[in-house]
């Protein structure tokens, strides 16, 4: 038996590790975001651009689409699955709320992207239905589905975690990410129904 005291000591130790790890994490993240902004001077996309990802996706119209085709627009991305009953409707509401705060005449410069973490179930038809149900059946809303592997890879770039926890449900982190016109990560917001002010500000800043 490991003594209770020893176990307690270890839990404290682990908690400290957590703190260290999470502090480190936020530092690197900022540094990366900074790097991305600095290196975006030429017209080709930089090393930090998601357009480097070789993955191929299908949209809600059943058309094949490469991430690279998002070049030139500001992208606001979130990962969801359409059969989700808990967090996703709120993420959808958050996205809608963000979109509402962007001036109408700038709509064509922003692409709101939902990436499915359940590509098996979320067929293009299903994504299309979801778009219609949520009154998001217009060009600024894009719904994407890829292979399991590409989806996992995309999540790794966003530091987004997800796991299938039952045949129909996933647990997942709730992150909305903003990318600039060159596909570089500029801003991330984590949590549900969090104040969208910063996210909107990040988008407006890029629109300038």
């Amino acid at each position: 038996m490991i003594s209770f005291q020893k176990m307690l000591k270890s839990i404290v130790y682990i908690s400290i590790l957590f703190l260290i790890v999470s502090c480190k994490q936020s530092e690197t993240q900022d540094a990366e975001i900074l790097n991305a902004t600095e290196s975006s001077s030429n017209s080709e996309f930089s090393d930090m651009s998601i357009f480097n990802l070789p993955s191929a996706w299908t949209n809600q119209e059943g058309e094949d689409i490469a991430l690279e085709s998002l070049q030139g627009k500001i992208s606001v991305m979130v990962m969801i699955y359409t059969s989700c009953k808990a967090a996703c409707p709120r993420l959808v509401a958050d996205m809608r709320n963000i979109a509402k705060q962007i001036p109408k005449d700038k709509t064509d410069q922003v692409q709101y992207v939902f990436v499915s973490i359940d590509p098996e179930v979320d067929t293009p038809e299903r994504l299309k239905k979801f778009a219609i149900e949520n009154q998001m059946d217009s060009p600024e809303w894009l719904f994407l589905r890829g292979t399991e592997e590409d989806t996992r890879e995309f999540a790794a770039v966003l530091a987004m975690s997800y796991k299938r926890i039952s045949p129909i449900d996933f647990s997942h982190s709730n992150i909305i990410s903003v990318f600039n016109r060159k596909g570089e990560l500029i801003h991330q917001r984590e949590g549900l129904s969090v104040d969208s002010k910063e996210t909107v500000a990040a988008i407006q800043n890029l629109l300038r």
Binding site: L19, S22, E32, I50
Partner: protein, 229 residues
């Protein structure tokens, strides 16, 4: 590679009694070494440190290597570290293999020299924790720690290792931003653990949930796996 036979196990995270089934799989008996990685770099220039893109590997990628094709003074059989998940994944793909899944890795790593599931043994836990507490010594070569019952070396005691779905770890109220959530994060995680005794695993899960695919660490390497049959 060693064959690991199928079975069920209870992971640290998940619902109580939510056993996970693991199918037969093969896994490298040792982690990928500096020498092996150098061979890969010779054939795959896009993964050399001067060529690799930042989105796939951060600035510390292969940080101890003085040159693209030179790992420096180290022993060729030292495990290669400061490798990103993207790089590890590509290496395995190039060998016709893949990274082990998180469940496969944890399942194989429950074993000690004699038993397939040693997680309740005091000696097993003490061994792992004393390794976690020890500062990295460096210069240790693969195969220098114990060989488990499956014939796999160094799952504990040498380096931390990437898994395919490392980003499937959900710790309640996951937070990377600190602040109030941190308290909730730590305590919530402790309560949710199905096996409090297994705090060694707890640390691995915590570590995995804190990293991104392009991160690298001087204690973080990898080995490859393959489906069984």
């Amino acid at each position: 590679m060693a064959l690991v036979k199928s079975g069920k196990y209870l992971p640290l995270y998940g619902d109580i009694d939510a056993y996970v089934e693991v199918s037969d799989f093969y896994i490298d008996t040792i982690a990928v070494t500096k020498a092996k990685y150098l061979e890969f770099l010779r054939e795959n220039p896009q993964w050399r440190k001067s060529n690799v893109k930042g989105i796939f590997a951060d600035d510390s990628y292969l940080s101890s290597w003085p040159e693209d094709l030179d790992y420096g003074d180290g022993h060729p059989d030292e495990p290669v570290t400061n490798i990103s998940w993207f790089a590890a994944k590509e290496y395995c793909k190039y060998q016709g293999k893949r990274l082990p899944t998180l469940d496969e890795w944890e399942y194989a790593a429950m074993a000690d020299e004699k038993t397939r599931d040693a997680r309740e043994k005091v000696s097993y836990n003490q061994y792992i924790l004393s390794w976690y507490e020890r500062p990295k010594r460096g210069n240790e070569i693969v195969g220098s720690t114990f060989k488990n019952v499956w014939g796999i070396y160094d799952l504990h005691g040498l380096i931390w290792e990437w898994t395919q779905d490392f980003n499937s770890v959900m710790i309640a109220s996951e937070s990377r931003s600190g602040g109030n959530d941190t308290n909730l994060f730590c305590s919530a995680a402790a309560v949710g653990a199905t096996d409090l005794m297994n705090y060694a695993a707890f640390m691995r899960y915590a570590y995995r949930s804190s990293i991104k695919g392009n991160n690298t660490g001087n204690n973080l390497g990898f080995r490859c796996a393959k489906d069984g049959n």
